[in-house]
């Protein structure tokens, strides 16, 4: 990638989009400090609403400009919401000297109450948002497969907003995005199936969208209105994360213009604390989305998020259930075997069912035992070389690219992905799961290697101007290993190592001891398994705790191993 392009992408990825210091001009912002409602910030256009210039409003009380009943409604709404939570509708009220009918929504952040006021749009949106959302939810609640569900979601949102094109956009494991469902006007170009590079929605935008669930740009050619001042009472930049009027990045506006989009709206789909995707809406002409419609869309989006999360959990639970079944069967059979090491090669078919894979190889005592779709045994040295490069002690190693471990695509024998479980890495003993290569025709929305390009002036890099489908044939990769795959594999690895290390050669002595107190061991194993399940609930611990934990576990492993060896000595 050329350095200039890299710099432009870097600049995009580090732009503080939540500190833009301005709002969109279809509304007004008044921010106050409680308890006395002292006005601390206003949007520069506020005079249109209140008839008072910014300098005449700042440091005065909001009570001089807005009637007590509206302030009461704002106070009540704020009382029910947490600081940092998205804006809530507080009132529909007549505001200012011309008694303009307005929608008022509020949220609290940085010790301030942010009041966003938008002129009421008559007509659509007068129905209760809850009832509207309820009707929409009823239409997607039952009897749809995954694809059908997303399609129906897009249809419902299009019906609600009247936008020309509504897409369900899903983030992939590499943060690129894919349009998985679409509902559009017949004369709009279809984006269904198109892929968008990760830089189109940079990391700070993805983080922001996790917490602010809905964003609307009614007119992408708007003139931003600065906030006076754009600083919080502590002197730092004013955080606009939860402002529905927040002015967006100029690069984003340019991106929309290049796409021929004049109005846009997006609703976050969040599952398991992760931004799963977006419901993205486009319109060719400016189009307001009244607060009532936004509220309905927000509720609907929350339901969609819950459904997506539930589906992912069900799928994870199903995989986990299957893996547990395999582990139990395996434990039974290996416990019954006189030497678990010798018994393991016969269990490859079973092992293959533990982790979704196309083939499995056991490397043990220099032998290559294979089942299912695997690379030829000649790849053993290459795989071991990769493992020595990539392995971290005790943890599974995974890649979805055959370049990582094979001298060429041909040499890999039709597989690409490897997930390796260490059994005894010091002796090059591993259990390897393989996934076959998926030759994929990826249709990108514009060239993915040129997400930004030079403008007409030949100086400034801006978002690309062509979103023509650009087909790329991706070779040499498999379906990626998911977090769930790695989790399941880790647990299987723990169970296997336990058996594996027991079968070191003095199997008989161990067997004798094993007969002596099998019940004890089983009881301990139960406890350890429960512990490993406890670990699952700790997936979100901070790095320090995680490393402390890893150390303690390593210590425990060591101690157990020492017990086993010293136990051997006694038994002998």
């Amino acid at each position: 990638m050329n350095p200039e392009l890299e710099r432009a992408l870097q600049a995009c990825a580090s732009e503080p989009i939540h500190l833009s210091g301005a709002i969109q001009p279809h509304g007004y912002l008044v921010s106050c400090r409680l308890p006395d409602w002292t006005i601390t910030n206003v949007s520069a256009n506020v005079e249109e609403l209140t008839g008072a210039a910014p300098e005449a409003m700042l440091r005065r009380s909001l009570r001089e400009f807005i009637t007590d009943d509206v302030i009461q409604a704002i106070a009540e709404t704020i009382g029910f919401s947490d600081p940092g939570a998205p804006a809530q509708r507080a009132a529909v009220a007549n505001i200012g000297p011309s008694a303009k009918l307005c929608e008022v929504s509020v949220h609290a952040a940085e010790g301030l109450v942010h009041i966003e006021i938008e002129p009421h749009v008559h007509g659509a949106g007068d129905r209760s948002p809850t009832l509207v959302a309820q009707a929409m939810i009823a239409r997607i609640a039952q009897g749809l497969d995954e694809a059908g569900f997303h399609e129906r979601v897009a249809e419902q949102v299009r019906k609600l907003t009247g936008y020309d094109r509504v897409m369900v956009y899903r983030f992939r494991h590499d943060d690129s995005g894919e349009v998985v469902a679409e509902s559009r006007e017949p004369d709009m170009p279809s984006y269904l199936g198109l892929r968008y590079p990760a830089s189109d929605i940079p990391p700070q935008a993805r983080r922001l969208y996790l917490h602010s669930r809905i964003r609307v740009i009614p007119d992408a050619r708007y003139r931003p209105v600065p906030i006076l001042p754009d600083r919080n009472p502590g002197g730092g930049p004013l955080d606009l994360s939860q402002l529905s009027l927040r002015s967006v990045s100029p690069v984003h506006l340019e991106y929309l213009a290049n796409m021929g989009v004049a109005a846009s709206m997006s609703i976050s789909i969040v599952a398991g604390g992760r931004l799963w995707g977006l419901i993205a809406c486009h319109h060719r002409t400016p189009r307001p989305v009244p607060a009532g419609i936004r509220a309905a869309a927000d509720l609907f989006g929350l339901f969609v998020s819950m459904r997506v999360a539930a589906r992912e959990q069900q799928e994870a639970a199903r995989l986990e259930e299957e893996a547990r079944g395999v582990r139990d069967t395996l434990a039974q059979r290996l416990s019954a075997a006189s030497d678990p090491r010798l018994a393991l090669p016969a269990e490859l078919e079973l092992l293959q069912r533990a982790v979704p894979a196309d083939g499995v190889v056991l490397l043990q005592s220099g032998h290559w035992h294979a089942a299912g779709r695997c690379p030829p045994p000649e790849r053993m040295p290459d795989l071991l070389a990769w493992l020595r490069r990539a392995a971290t002690p005790g943890a599974p190693v995974a890649t979805d690219r055959c370049d990582d471990w094979s001298p060429g695509r041909e040499a890999a024998g039709g597989v690409a992905g490897v997930l390796a479980l260490p059994l005894d890495p010091a002796r090059d003993e591993w259990l390897l799961f393989f996934r076959r290569e998926q030759v994929e025709e990826v249709r990108w929305a514009g060239r993915p290697d040129q997400p930004m390009e030079l403008g007409d002036d030949g100086q400034r890099l801006g978002p690309r101007r062509s979103f023509e489908a650009w087909t790329e044939t991706v070779r040499g990769t498999s379906a990626p290993w998911s977090d769930a795959d790695l989790r399941i594999a880790s647990r299987l690895g723990l169970a296997l190592r336990e058996f594996h290390q027991r079968g070191g050669g003095q199997a008989e002595a161990r067997e004798l001891r094993g007969r002596r107190n099998p019940l004890d061991v089983r009881g301990h194993r139960e406890r350890l398994l429960r512990l490993s399940e406890l670990l699952d609930s700790l997936v979100h611990v901070d790095p320090d705790t995680a490393s402390a934990l890893a150390e303690r576990i390593a210590q425990l492993e060591d101690e157990l191993r020492q017990l086993i060896t010293s136990g051997d000595a006694v038994a002998e």
Partner: protein
Amino acid sequence: MDTVDAYRRYLLGMHRFAVDYECATGALPRRSAWLAGDLAALSLPPLPAEGRCVPVAGHAARLGWHYVMAGSSLGARRLLRDARRLGFGPGRGADFLARHAEGGDWDALLAQLREQEAGDDARRAGAVAGARDAFALVYTCFERDFDRIPMPLPEDCR
């Protein structure tokens, strides 16, 4: 200042300085409001705030800050001529320059400074330090990365 682009940069940098000057000195947002109007007229998003801007302690130091802002009104007279040549003016993207150039900020400040002269050395030193801080801020406001300012469509310029 002989290009529209240079005028845009001036507005962006000056707006950033004015906001932080008002936060630092506790001045009411008159200048930043005029500049905000000019930015909106030119369809320019403001330069985002950076760092922390805390109130300046001490009357003398604040006077130093006012000296820098008032001093810029002298330059504004010349810049206003340039802006007019480029087609800008009051109500047409140059409200700030028009008002800033015509205001009596400088004379008022000179009167205050004369009072200060009667004061002691510590107060004089405070004023100099305040002016230096304000100049440093001016400098950073105009040294910002303008690369990513989008070029508005021609019809947005006027």
